[in-house]
């Protein structure tokens, strides 16, 4: 297999592997997995809001601890969570690193004639932790809540039906198309020898992308028939799956609510 198209297969395989790995954890038995998806979605969103609100490193670290605790309760290995959510904060830290010298404040030490200030270091730390916790909370949601549950939650939360269905159908066909694209590339490679240059690579990618879109459009037409055949002229109206909230759900919601309010109060109180 040669060149850039081969990388496509790796990209897809990598993406699929990540999704599959997440699904394995989502199948496990744990605190978040047992929550009503609406509760999981709202509570984690509230926690993320709490982190975003804070301006104090201590509070941000509390949120980090809370996230780690939720992960432990939900059978999510902390190393996995960390590995998943380390890259973005580290890159972000690099981006804001110059602020360590740019922000005015008391000099902590001097590097190459530049003063590293306490305010600067505090900012870089706070920023990195905040981003890290934000990413970790999203990863936690991804790892513990299967997407079909997220879709059900969106439905129950009264997001417009049309929108929820577009999302659900996208998800359904995404994997079919990943497979199809991957096999298109594999099938092409299974009958290809030798290296292709830049121009050849573009020609191939153009051809594959173009054909792929045409097929997608035709597929859309056929799926439309399938839907019509079974739905008639009604908007899709599946059975609801929501259940009554239990004690754990209420506890999680209460915890998230308190955390947001506390974080807000600390931010805006003088």
């Amino acid at each position: 297999m040669s060149g850039v198209l081969a990388r496509t297969v790796e990209t897809i395989t990598g993406a699929l592997r990540a999704v599959f790995a997440a699904e394995r954890i989502a199948d496990a038995d744990g605190f978040l997995q047992r929550r009503d998806p609406r509760v999981a979605l709202c509570a984690l969103a509230a926690l993320a809001l709490g982190v975003v609100l804070t301006r104090t490193l201590g509070v941000a670290l509390c949120f980090a601890a809370l996230t780690a605790a939720l992960a432990r309760l939900s059978a999510v290995p902390l190393r996995r969570l960390f590995a998943r959510s380390a890259v973005v904060p580290l890159v972000s830290a690099l981006v804001v690193l110059p602020q360590a010298v740019l922000l005015p404040g008391d000099a902590l030490l001097r590097v190459a004639g530049l003063a590293v200030t306490d305010a600067g270091v505090a900012y870089v730390l706070l920023f990195t932790v905040r981003v890290g916790v934000g990413v970790a909370l999203l990863s936690l949601l991804v790892l513990t809540t299967p997407f079909s549950a997220v879709v059900a939650a969106l439905r129950d939360l009264r997001v417009p039906v049309a929108l929820v269905w577009v999302v659900a159908v996208t998800y359904r066909y995404l994997f079919l198309f990943f497979d199809e694209l991957q096999r298109l590339v594999l099938a092409r490679n299974s009958r290809t020898t030798g290296e292709t240059g830049l121009r050849g690579g573009w020609r191939d990618a153009r051809r594959i992308a173009g054909t792929f879109f045409l097929r997608t459009l035709d597929r859309g037409e056929r799926v439309g028939r399938g839907m019509r055949a079974r739905g008639g002229a009604r908007p899709p109206s599946p059975y609801g799956r929501s259940r009554r909230l239990d004690a754990g759900d209420c506890a999680l919601l209460a915890l998230a609510g308190v955390a947001v309010v506390a974080s807000g109060v600390m931010r805006w109180s003088p």
């Binding site: 079909s148 359904r172 497979d179 799926v223 028939r225 055949a229 739905g231 008639g232 002229a233 059975y239």
Partner: protein, 274 residues
């Protein structure tokens, strides 16, 4: 019996100009079991879509239940199973797919669940209900699609090649479910072996998209000239017994053939044969 689907002068050309159907008249009556057969590319799937009201024919008209030409008005009474299960299963899990029809019809939740459980059991899908339909093997997908169309119990089943990738065991199950269905059944298939067990009437589509015949199953299946004209081959049992017994005695199903052979047992015995 009154007609449930009555098509007059159906013609269909795809946008690229391929004419797939030419002036087809066909009437399906309540309770009939009909097979529409034809070579690859003869236009069976196009005919199915046109009869099911899923493509608008370029010319001609379909009347449903003697009352309307608008398929959408009778949508829940038509069970149109498309040839490719990937086009038919569009939900996130197999369970949601089988439940989709009943939910759209507003069937109470518990009844729908019982029906899903029964169909899943019958078609060996019980352990697969929570899987996304794109993670099934070819035959499993096809079974899930069959379950989805049977789930809402339509009056008329229009099934396009429901057996292709299915193994012999589940083929028999599907056949039993279809024959037990108490409405009208129209089966579209290029392979004649499954026809005699389901259909009593056979409609033959010629390679140019016209109808070549519309007659009782036995007449069509034993008419070697007709079949070879339209690019088909008779069912296995007909190929085995044609010319050896009278045309009306040719067994059409494997079971009938086996009975015939059992009767003739002694002649097959190798000791006696030579």
């Amino acid at each position: 019996m009154e007609p449930v689907i009555d098509a007059r002068g159906l013609t269909h050309a795809y946008p690229d100009g391929t004419t797939a159907l030419r002036d087809v008249d066909v009437t399906i009556r309540r309770g009939e079991r009909v097979a529409v057969v034809g070579a690859n590319g003869s236009g069976k799937s196009t005919l199915q879509l046109a009869l099911g009201g899923l493509v608008a024919p370029s010319a001609g008209e379909v009347t449903y239940f003697g009352e309307t030409t608008d398929a959408e008005a009778v949508r829940e009474r038509l069970g149109v199973l498309l040839q490719d299960p990937d086009d038919y299963l569009f939900n996130t899990t197999v369970r949601e797919d089988i439940e989709y029809g009943p939910a759209q019809l507003g069937l109470p939740r518990e009844r729908a669940e019982r029906r899903v459980a029964a169909l899943a059991d019958e078609l060996g899908l019980t352990d697969l209900l929570e899987r996304p339909p794109f993670r099934l093997s070819g035959g499993e997908k096809q079974r899930a699609a069959v379950a989805s169309v049977l789930a809402f119990d339509p009056d008329v089943l229009l099934l396009d090649e429901p057996f292709g990738a299915v193994d012999a065991h589940y083929r028999a199950r599907i056949r039993d479910l279809v024959t037990a269905h108490d409405g009208t059944v129209v089966l579209f298939t290029p392979s004649l072996d499954a026809v005699p067990e389901i259909a009593e009437r056979v409609v033959v589509v010629d390679r140019d998209g016209t109808l070549a015949a519309d007659a009782p199953a036995r007449d069509v299946l034993t008419d070697r000239d007709l079949l070879s004209d339209v690019g088909l081959r008779p069912p296995t049992t007909v190929r085995l017994f044609a010319g050896l017994v009278d045309d009306d005695a040719i067994p059409l199903t494997v079971a009938a053939a086996r009975d015939l052979l059992d009767d003739a047992r002694s002649a097959l015995d190798p000791q006696r044969r030579r």
